[in-house]
C-alpha cells in the first residue's frame, strides 16, 4: 500500500467532491459538511455513474444518474438497493490529504 499526497482539504468544497486520476481508475474524494474526508471509486455500482458529481448529504452521496444513495464510509448502497464500491483509505494530516493505493506500481509497471 502506498500513500499519495493529493492536495489540500481546501481544494474540495464542503458537501462536495473532487476527482483523482490513478492508474486504477478515477477516485472520488469527498468532504462532508463537518470536514470528514472519504475516498471511493468514482463509479456507481448500479450503472457506473460518476459519484463525484452527486449531491453530498451527511456521510452519503446520491448518484447523479439514478439517485442511488451510497455510503461514503462503507461504499455500500443504502436503502433498498444492493451493491458496493471500493473504499480507498484516506489520511488527513492537518490540511493535507493522502490516499492509499494498493500495489499500483506493480500493476502499472
Amino acid at each position: 500500500m502506498t500513500w499519495f499526497a493529493i492536495g489540500s482539504m481546501k481544494d474540495i468544497p464542503r458537501r462536495g467532491a473532487r476527482c483523482v486520476q490513478t492508474p486504477q481508475g478515477r477516485i472520488a474524494v469527498f468532504r462532508t459538511a463537518d470536514d470528514q474526508i472519504f475516498a471511493i471509486e468514482d463509479q456507481c455500482p448500479h450503472k457506473g455513474g460518476p459519484l463525484s458529481q452527486g449531491l453530498v448529504h451527511g456521510a452519503a452521496v446520491t448518484c447523479p444518474l439514478h439517485n442511488w444513495v451510497i455510503s461514503l464510509e462503507t461504499g455500500k448502497a443504502l436503502g433498498a438497493d444492493e451493491g458496493a464500491v471500493r473504499t480507498i483509505p484516506v489520511n488527513v494530516e492537518g490540511e493535507r490529504l493522502f490516499i492509499a493505493l494498493d500495489a499500483i506500481a506493480d500493476k502499472a509497471a
Binding site: R15, G16, T22, L55, H57, A59, A60, P64, E73
Partner: protein
Amino acid sequence: MTEKLVIIGNGMAPGRMLEHLFEQAPGRYAVTIFNAEPRVNYDRIMLSPVLSGEKSYEEIVIHGDRWYVDNAVTLYKGHRIIAIDPVAKTVTSDHGVTEGYDRLVIATGSVPFIIPVPGNNLPGVLTYRDLDDVHAMLLAAQSRAKAVVIGGGLLGLEAAAGLNARGMDVTVLHVMPTLMERQLDPAAGYLLQKAVEERGIKVITKANTQAIIGDPRVEGVALADGSVVPASLVVMAVGIRPNAALARDAGLAVNRGIVVDDAMRTSDPDILAIGECAEVGGQVYGLVAPLYEMARVAASRLAGDDTAAFVHADTPTKLKVTGIDLFSLGDFADGDDRQEIVLRDASAGVYKRLVLKDNRIIGTVLYGETADGAWFNDLKKKQTDISEMRDTLIFGQAYQGGAPLDPMAAVAALPDDAEICGCNGVCKGKITGAIAGKGLTSLDDVRAHTKASASCGSCTGLVEQLMVLTLGDSYNPAAVQPMCSCTSLGHDDVRRLIKAKGLKTIPAVMQELEWKTSCGCAKCRPALNYYLVCDWPDEYADDYQSRFVNERVHANIQKDGTYSVVPRMWGGMTSARELRAIADVVDKFAIPAVKVTGGQRIDMLGIRKEDLPAVWADLGAAGFVSGHAYAKGLRTVKTCVGSDWCRFGTQDSTGLGIRIEKFMWGSWTPAKVKMAVSGCPRNCAEATCKDVGVICVDSGFEIHFAGAAGLDIKGTEVLGLVRTEDEALEVIVALTQMYREQARYHERIYKWAKRVGIAEIKRQTLDDRERRRGYFDRFVFSQRFAQVDPWSERVSGKDKHEFKPMATVGYAAAAE
C-alpha cells in the same frame, strides 16, 4: 539538599503545577519563576469578563504576591528568557540574569497567530492573548468607534462581545461559512450567529481578509470580494500556535509544540514542558482541563511519583458570553455506523444533538439549554450503554426513571383554557368547540376557523391531537405528504413558513422548522435552495452544493458521465455565423454527436467535463449563451415564422417568442418551463401542449397554459385573450411568477394548476390588474440577480475546481 527548579512562564499551568507540587513534596525544591509579563499568575480564561467589564483584574488573580512569598518562590516579573543552555543547565533572561537549574519546566504557552496580510502591523491592530491586549482594547473602546474582530471562534466571539459591551460597533469576520465550526455543527453555528447578531454585533461569514488598510493607523479591513469594512481597531483572534522557539533554539525536539512524553518530559530528561507549548501524543491543547492535567502529571513526576501519566480526554467547549449557552464535546461528525438524536425547539431557541455509536454517546452539541452537558459528558466518559433510555435520553437527566408520558393523554389532560396556539392566542376549548360545533374535519378548516396553528405552525401536532381526541378515528392526520424523511412538513408548509418566519438560509430553515437530520438529503436540499432563491432573490446566496450536477456545471450529464451542451437560439432563429461556430467547436473538440432538439436548437453530445469551459469560451466568442437545457428554469420558446414569412401568419410570432425568451431567460422555476408562440391557429409551434403557449389571432394573442407532452399528455387550458404584445408579455410573466411562488419543487405547471384551480390562476394573473402587476414586478426584480450567463462566468474562472481533477497520482511512482 534542596534541588533547584526553574520555571519559564507564569501562566495557569505552572501555577497549578506548583500547587500540586507544594502539597506532594513540600520543601523539596527551591523554585524560581521567570515571567515575561510584569505580573503575577492570573486566570487567563477570565480575560473576556474583564474586557466586557463584568470582572476586574484583581478578581481574576490566582496567586497574589503573598503566595510567592509564603512559598519562598523567587518570581522575576517582566523577565523574558532568551536562552537555555542544557549542557551547563542554566537559563538567561533578557535583563541578563542567569540562573542554574536541576530541573527546568518550560511553560511558555502560545503566541497568537497573525495572518500574513499587508498592514497586519499597523497601529490599532491587536491580538487577544493577555492583560496588555485587554488594556489596549479598553483604551481603543473609549472612542466608541468601529471595531473588527477577525476570527469567529471562541476567542474572537468573546472579544467581540466584550468590545460590544464597551460600546463599540463591532463586526466579526469569519472565513468559514458558520461560526465556531470546529466545535459546532452548522445548525448550532447558525443559532449562535443569530444570537450574536441580536446583540448588535455584525457577522460576516466566508470573509477572506485580503489586507488591513490605513495610514498611519488602521482604517479598515479589505476583503477578497473587494469590500472594505471600516474600523479603527482590528483584533486578530484567528488562533494560537505553541510558543516553542526557545526550546527549539536549545536543541529540544519540537514538532508543532515541544514534544513531550506522557510524563511531560522533553527530549532532555531534566527539562519538562507543560501547557499550550507542549505537544503530547501528537496533540497540542488550548483548553484549560488538559493543561491542568499536564500540571498534575508534571507535579507528581517532580515529586518522585514515576507512575503519573497524561491521558487524553475530550474536553467540552463552552462560550463565555453572558446570555449565550452552548456546549460541545467530542466527535459529532455523521457516519454510517452512527446514529444521531436531534431535538430542536425553535420557539425556545434550543438545539441539541447527540451522536451515538454502538449505543454509546460519542459527541454532544447543546445550544440554548446546556444544563445536561455534564451528564452527557459523564455518560460519554463512562461509555454507558444508553439503549435503555434511548427514547428519552435527549431530554436530559431529569426525565430518566419516570414513566414515559403518553402525548395523547397529556393533551387530553389539559384544561380547556390551556393555550395551544401561542401566536394567535387560541386555547384548547375554542379549538375543540369549533371542531364539534362547526363540524370541522380537516386541519385547514380548523386553521381557517380558529387561526390555531395558522401562523408559525409549530403547534400543528397539538392541534392534530385535539382533532383526534374530538373526532376519534374519523380524522386522518396523515393527509399531508412530507417533503422527505428529513421533515414531517409538506412542501406548502415549508414554503409558507420560509416567508412567514423570514428564513433566508438552508441552516435557518432546518433549525426553525425542526429538521430531523443535520444536513438534509438529496430531496430536500435542492427544493429548499430553490424556495430560497425564489423568495429572497437579492439576499439569498445560492447554495451550489445543494444543486443537482446539471445545474452546478451548466450542462446535461449523460449515461457515460460525459455532458451535452445546448446554446440558446433565441426563438429558434439562427444564422450562418452561429452554425459555423458550432461546426468549428464540434471539429475542434471532436464532439461525437450533434442533434437538433425538439425545442428548436442544437445539442452537442459526448463532451468531456474538462473540455466544457473551453467549449463555452468558443461558443461565447460567437455570441452564444447557455440554453439552460439542464435547468429547472426557462428552457425554450419555440416559434413559427409568423407574419414575417408565412402567408397565414397573423402576428409576429417569432418576434414575440424572442422577446419572451430574452425577458425570461435565466429565471429558476420549480420545474422546467417550455413555451411556444404560434402565429395562427394552425399552431405550427405546437403551443397547445406547452407549459405556456401563445396562439396569435387577428384580434390579438390567446394565452394558453398547463399543457403537457411528456409522461402525461394534456392539451393546454386557455387563460384568456389580450390585445397587445406588451399585455401578453405581462400576463405570461405574472403567470410564471405565481407558479414560481406557489408550486412545489418538481411540480410542472399543469399539476400545480390542477391543484390551485384554473379559475383562481385566471383571476390573479389576468383579471386582477393590481395583482398581475405585483407578480410582474417581483419577477423583474428577481431577474436582476438571475440574468447572468453561467457559461461566461465559468469561462472567466468561476468554480474552476469543478472542471479539473484534484490530482493525478500513481503514474510517476510506477515509472521510478
